[in-house]
């Protein structure tokens, strides 16, 4: 079972805007211009 590092836990409690995330997921259906 992976251990939770304290650093990661602190980081998780920050409110993050999507601007700050290095990885974002979007649905493959999330692009306008495809019917």
């Amino acid at each position: 079972m992976p251990e939770v590092s304290s650093t990661a836990h602190e980081a998780e409690t920050e409110a993050l805007t999507s601007e700050e995330l290095l990885v974002e997921e979007v649905s493959i259906d999330g692009m306008c211009g495809v019917y």
């Binding site: 992976p2 251990e3 939770v4 590092s5 650093t7 990661a8 836990h9 602190e10 980081a11 998780e12 993050l16 700050e20 995330l21 290095l22 990885v23 974002e24 997921e25 979007v26 649905s27 493959i28 999330g30």
Partner: protein, 101 residues
Amino acid sequence: MGATGAATFDLDRAWRVDPRVSMRPEPFGALLYHFGTRRLSFLKNQTVLAVVRSLAGHPSARVACLACGVTEAELPAYARALGALADSRMITERRADDSGA
């Protein structure tokens, strides 16, 4: 989104990109598409792309990050990023008998 990954992602394990993932570099970073899950992820800079590409060649994600120039201060952000990719099954843990190629 992302929070679960950050809490459970283990930087000290060996990881690799799932073979069903297509990676496409772009000027801003890269697109990853998983043909099995049909999920689409965006890597928003070149460093995280370099880390993901190099995962299979390093004994741990932490080593891969450092090898790609990620600083200690930046590691939490990269752990969150890799956690998000693990959540969506873009990257999976390497087993001991994986060649890592």
